[in-house]
Amino acid sequence: MEHYYQPEIECASREQIIALQNERLVKQVRHVYDNVEYYRKKMEEKGVTPDDIKSIDDLHKLPFLTKDDLRDAYPYGLVAVPLSDCVRIQSTSGTTGRRVVAFYTQHDIDLWDECCARAIMAVGGTKDDVVHVCYGYGLFTGGPGLNGGSHKVGSLTLPMSSGNTDRQIQFMTDLGSTILCCTPSYAAYLGESINERGLKDQIKLKAGIFGAEAWTEEMRRDIEKSLGIKAYDIYGLTEISGPGVSFECSEQTGMHINEDHFIAEIIDPNTGEVLPEGEKGELVFTSITKEAFPLLRYRTRDICVLTRKKCSCGRTHVKMSKPMGRSDDMLIVKGVNVFPSQIETVLLNKGYAANYQIMVDRVNNSDTLEVQVEMTPEMFSDSVTEVAAKEKELVNALKAMLGIYAKVKLVAPKTITRSEGKAVRIIDNRHLY
């Protein structure tokens, strides 16, 4: 039997959804125009006023927002309410300029929690379930999002946060966790660990909600087999709220976007033109209900396809495919956003040449990141201790910048391929897309 958190909205007719979106968009554009000087200027530059936006058909007239805008407006430039009305900040890793800092009113937290509640019920969650959340808690949206959703459903919530696998498994067996929320790579690791310990018959898991990084259908089958569960995808980004912007249902053929809160468009990443349904392009979101951090036409850089084909779960909201790639050079490693430019900044600061290569792989279902750097005469010494100390210093600086460990491999000069034109900086052997 299919469960819904808000069936009247999740299964509303197309007409009802459009009517809701029209009304909310018009109101939201006015709210942003009146309260966000940064975006008002962008609208003025484009010669658009709130009066020009009468329905979602006018959405394309609005200017885009990108990560560069977030940097330019950091930290408060895109906040649309007085700070005294905000109750929460969430953030991504990364340095200023790459780090996203988002603000929430209580209303924004509630709608985000509701989106996550829909995701939990879509995988069969009810108030009788024990929801085991081992996404990180804190600034990262993963933990707080699913935690809030689980509360809304009324499930018994285990706010485990990440790490300490022994403890995760012990809580899972002792307290009978039924729904697991974490990154797919951690789910795969938990599956292996549970099987190694011979504890598979002692866990009661039935479903998992796995997001924050790209994963393949093969990985889904592996996780489903090793944990004896159904594995579902969830999508979201801090800019728009967090996990739960879209989520998978029983059909497991794409993620329903919560269209009463977020309008999705697919554009040509090169021209910005809106593409017809079913075409592959960059996903763009407009938040139509958020108060504090209401981004209009935010370019996610995720490449995917939207479909309105009737879904067997009964939900009517548009479905997005798993992201099929990026229209920028961002990598997602261990669920953390990594830009080559961050690595370059560290190398240059530490006196290395900007000639480097980033190798990403997935070993035993866990991502690995290696930065290959060419040895320079300045760096070199006859002493192993000195070279090792410099290497360690670089590893620490990368960790501070990226938030995750990156192995540093020093290679001989001129061995990293110089390509003509755009340098090939990234070798991603995970083949996720």
């Binding site: 040895m375 005469p377 002493s383 061995t415």
Partner: protein, 143 residues
């Protein structure tokens, strides 16, 4: 009294050392002593040669990262316990030994040890006081 040592960065890959040695051999560079320190992904080759200046030029031209530094070369009789006196003297003077390697030559009954310490001047003085013989660059080249 010190001698010049050349260090070369080598990747930990088959054929890397051979490539460098081949270059030296083609250019008639004669090695007096050699040692390799290995890390997980790379190694540091340390050599003492007859013609340091030319060797460095050739190594650099071949695209290797290289550096030159001064090390101590101590002559010790080729008999048990001979090295101990040197090491004890350094230890007593609180001089840390970073690394060391030994070599012999055609000269019978003599062995040589290269010492890399933090303070060459202090170490030279201490060893001199103990009557331990050190080699200079010229003598090293003539071995």
């Amino acid at each position: 009294m010190t001698v010049k040592q050349i260090s070369v960065f080598l990747e930990n890959k088959p054929g890397c050392l051979a490539e460098l040695i081949e270059i030296l051999s083609k250019n008639n560079i004669d090695m007096r002593a050699m040692s390799i320190a290995e890390m997980q992904d790379f190694g540091i080759l340390r050599i003492i040669v007859k013609d340091t200046y030319n060797a460095v030029r050739i190594i650099k031209d071949a695209g290797f990262v290289t550096s030159v530094n001064e090390v101590l070369a101590v002559a010790i009789p080729d008999q048990p316990g001979a090295l101990l006196q040197t090491l004890t003297a350094l230890g007593e003077a609180n001089i840390n030994l970073e690394y060391s390697y030994a070599f012999t030559t055609a000269k019978k009954d003599m062995a040589y040890t290269v010492l890399r310490v933090t303070d060459n001047e202090k170490a030279s003085k201490i060893l001199g006081q103990k009557g331990i013989r050190m080699l200079g660059q010229e003598e090293m080249e003539q071995l």
